[in-house]
Subunit: 409 residues, 2 copies
């Protein structure tokens, strides 16, 4: 089998959507379309499920010029659809032979999957199987996750835009809350199951003296109800309106999620608890203990799909990463994973690199302790200076009748 | 007293903040600063409370050039702070004499208050008292409310930007939900206590074939749990992901808010119930009845303070309205209320007008029944075509380190 040379490529998107995952897709298509070794470019619909069920469409010829790429690059959420599927162990030959039979049918020489740490489990298994069984397909993973919790990468595509949306909206909320003289506490719940990267960005306004949350709680520090209450009280002595940002993933000393009382207890396919409601739990707590007006605000889905608040830096880097992943696939780098790196020096400059995918799969990069204040109730300016350059630059998006226009496959 | 001629002006902001209330403030300052009959321009801090407590600052000289006005115009939320204060009956002379004593001290000839239907109660009482007691102060109201529920006006400043944010985010959420193949219902809760204008805007994506909610429920139609469930089931037969937009103010046939079970029962100073949670209530209901994945998303505060998603039309009109209110005050039009009107003709063109404030105070303009489909589960294209022009045009806002920059007094 190893003598066969397949000239077609297939691309998929996996895991949670983001505002930049289509920019990476566009970068890969740009890279593949520009190379004469590639004949057809296919898209798998809904990630690996699309291969399993043979739901595959030709996409390369859809891109006639710069306008098509640009529209895809500012379209949030996985254009090809996504899935949350955990593949069986590589010993399950029946399963994997079925997958490679589909890939062989479409003469796929290059398989690229854009995804986060969970999705890289898929890439890890597929590429290991391809290698062990001398398949004609090079399998490459391309990093993505708004959570920014991939190890080895400086940061991940989609994080910069999510951070910008969170920094922007939290600053606007803090500005909004400041207009009243009534004593009030506003608790903003931010995504990030295991790592506080997204919640950290809520403080971005501080770097330019703009309004921002007074207290910021990340899951990297044990959450203590008593000291939380003390901190809120202390802030209320300074001004009537206190804004708190809290990660959905904060846990108390017993290892339970701080909002556990309000949880459904459901878990997703990777065993992660379905989270909601830490802000609601804290709202009740503050109401009970302080008795002032309290409001819970969940930033919710827009954190990962706010295409109307993109970071130009994030989109540019995501496209570049896609191109570099296409190069890696064409160079036959099976089992590799394309990531963004930060170049040394005072000026913000990034590059791309590839690392073995098994080093990354199923691992989580936490926010370093030195990015969090000693008492655990805020983030440091150094942390904010790490995030700020990732959010730089605005992207003009096309609007029609009050709604942003998007690319559809 | 009527012979006295005071050459100073005072401006205040009242009621809920919006993304355009500072644009109106800027328009008033532009208008007053350009007129030689005005000497000093003051701002009352936190609306009428600022006059009662003598918290008044000079603001006119802060505006040296176009850049200052422009920054204020793209700064969301009441720059001078706001309040929710209900004034006593005009028969309470002690109270009103105290207020006019403060206004006399600052030699206020022109008093302008920007606010919605509740705030116009304040303007109504103050102007009636001023007229009856021959005060030297002209009292003028200037329309504002994201709710768009003021009678006589075609629409209100702040509504266009809020509608744009809601249309944009709902389209993004619908696009995001479409990436999965798992059966799921997403319920988006939108502001609007008594009128469905904001919720209506959730459907804007439809006019350009973009994703948008499949079902839209406004408070103008009685909410029926059974027919809601039937409609959701019917949509689920067509596709796996159903998105529902619902106004926080929808009520069941018994006159109770549909989410009543989840309510706190607290009321604000005007007797309005403090609302939260209709989406949560429907989430529980759909989970119980259908058993699929269900998610509640409350758009919450960003609806009224998303300065990063302004409508250029809204901001332009808000500035023009401010200028026209300044002219009305200078022309001595006591007791008047400045509103936006739509000029006849196929092309979208607006003007400004003044109406007696007592006609507007404490009244609510509902969405007309013909803007809602017969079965009450959606809005018509005609309704969307009413809103769309109000959302046209983008405003470039200054960003620094991931946060929008704002004007501060």
């Amino acid at each position: 089998m190893s003598q066969k040379i397949f000239k077609n490529a297939i691309i998929g998107q996996s895991g949670g959507p983001s505002a930049a995952i289509n920019a990476t897709l566009s970068g890969i298509i740009r890279g593949l379309n520009a190379d004469s070794r590639v004949e057809k470019i296919y898209g798998m619909l809904n990630g690996i499920s699309g291969v399993i069920d043979d739901r595959i469409i030709e996409i390369g010829s859809r891109f006639k010029g710069e306008d098509d790429y640009r529209l895809l690059e500012c379209t949030p959420s996985s254009g090809l659809g996504t899935c949350r599927v955990k593949l069986p162990d590589v010993s399950d030959e029946t399963f994997y032979e079925k997958i490679f039979a589909v890939l062989d049918k479409y003469e796929i020489g290059y398989f690229l999957l854009i995804g986060g740490n969970d999705s890289m489990d898929t890439v890890d298994k597929l590429s290991a199987y391809a290698k062990a069984h001398e398949k004609a397909t090079v399998v490459v993973g391309v990093s993505k996750t708004i959570d920014n919790d991939l190890i080895l990468a400086d940061h991940t595509p989609g994080y910069g835009s999510a951070a910008k949306y969170i920094g922007t909206v939290c600053s606007e909320i803090a500005g909004d809350c400041a207009v009243y003289t009534t004593k009030a506490v506003t608790i903003v719940e931010i995504m990030g199951r295991d790592a506080g990267w997204l919640t950290l960005a809520s403080g971005l306004g501080r770097l330019s003296g703009m309004p921002c949350p007074d207290l910021i709680y990340l899951p990297e520090v044990v959450f203590d109800y008593d000291s939380f209450l003390e901190s809120v009280k202390k802030e209320l002595e300074k001004k009537p309106n206190v804004v708190v940002a809290v990660s959905e993933g904060v846990k108390t000393a017993d290892g339970k999620y701080a909002g556990e009382g309000c949880q459904t207890g459901a878990v997703d396919i990777f065993g992660h608890k379905y989270l909601a409601g830490v802000a609601k739990a804290l709202e009740q707590y503050v109401k009970e203990k302080i008795g002032c007006k309290v409001r819970a605000v969940e930033l919710n889905l827009p954190q990962r799909c706010a295409g109307h608040c993109l970071s130009a830096t994030d989109i540019r880097e995501s496209v570049e990463l896609g191109k570099s992943a296409a190069r890696a696939a064409l160079d036959g780098k099976n089992c590799c994973f394309a990531i963004i790196t930060r170049l040394p020096g005072a000026e913000y400059k990034t590059g791309t690199d590839t690392v073995p995918v098994h080093l990354v799969a199923n691992k989580v990069k936490a926010v370093p302790r030195e990015y969090i204040t000693e008492d655990g109730s805020n983030v440091t300016d150094e942390a904010l200076r790490y995030v700020a350059p990732l959010t730089e630059g605005e992207v003009e998006i096309p609007y029609k009748f009050g709604a942003p226009q998007r690319f559809t496959f």
